[in-house]
Amino acid sequence: MNVSLSIICERIKRELGKSRRLPVGTIRRREFERFAIAADDHNRLFFDDAFARSHGYKSAFAPPLYLSSVMGWEAGPPQESLRADGTPSNDATALAIEGLRLMGGGQELEFHRPVADETDVVMEFSVTNVEFKQGRSGELLVIEVQKKYLDGEGRPLVTCRENFIAR
């Protein structure tokens, strides 16, 4: 195994099972509407309260992938602390993969409740698995994280298991 992959694999293994509870903050309608627009998704459920109510919801709500697609909920790290590839090296959900190239591999999502404007959200984050694999283009790590999003009363909103490929 590539030495740096091996070291990083062992480092990530030491993080397995450690859960961190992180504030996401208050969800704002303009932000999730911008997400919908950027995704070219004009579903009226995300924009129109009256339309959403007429279909059984309390109000318009965020597109289903909104929470699990946002990479950071804080103001963000200063530019000088970004890695060469632009990703943050020191925020709470950053993976310790210095020197490797990272790519999103996909998600598995369970939707528990709609996420409406002004919902207070926290996230429970943990690294749940890391595996060394021989891919078509060489050695790689598949890293699985879990992100559970809860509202202010502790009720689940979205559960996300996400894979990243590091090489």
Binding site: R34, A38, A39, Y57, K58, V70, M71, P88, G106, F111
Partner: protein, 152 residues
């Protein structure tokens, strides 16, 4: 032709979702990176993406997933509830690609009076390369529902 309001009773295994076609642009990728606070340079910095061996900036993983979610929700309609979605990225996509999202119903199930439908999903580019493969589970409205199924 799909009915105006799709019901559980209208759906059967083997039924197909209307194809959803997306043509991502560099502006779209920039805006999607901005709203998701994704500073990864492979999505907006072409010289950097070339350095990593890619032909251009890349469509974000989550944007592939959003396209598949959109294909399902547009088909199922506003009275349906998306319960689960998963997808895996299989190949890169870049601005200028034409991405077609398709789906087929693989399971219909009545459970405690509620109607659930499962779909296999694919997103392919103009060369028919599979860019993302997915699966979704949706709770559909039923013909005898007295009102919409409020889950909110």
């Amino acid at each position: 032709m799909q009915p105006a309001r799709l019901l559980f009773e209208d759906v059967s295994v083997g039924g197909v979702l209307p194809p959803l076609i997306k043509r991502p642009t560099t502006a779209q990728l920039f805006r999607f990176s901005a709203v998701t606070w994704n500073a990864h340079r492979i999505h907006y910095d072409k010289p950097y993406a070339l350095l990593e061996g890619y032909p251009d900036v890349l469509v974000q993983s989550h944007l592939h997933g959003s396209f598949l979610a959109q294909a399902v929700m547009d088909w199922a309609g506003p009275d349906a509830r998306l319960m689960n979605l998963r997808w895996q990225n299989r190949a890169i996509a870049t601005p200028g690609d034409v991405l077609t999202c398709t789906g087929v119903v693989v399971k219909v199930e009545l459970r405690e009076g509620l109607g659930f439908v499962e779909c296999q999903l694919e997103e392919r580019n103009q060369q028919n390369t599979l860019c993302a493969a997915g699966w979704a589970r949706v709770r559909m409205p039923r013909r005898d529902d007295k009102a919409t199924q409020g889950a909110a």
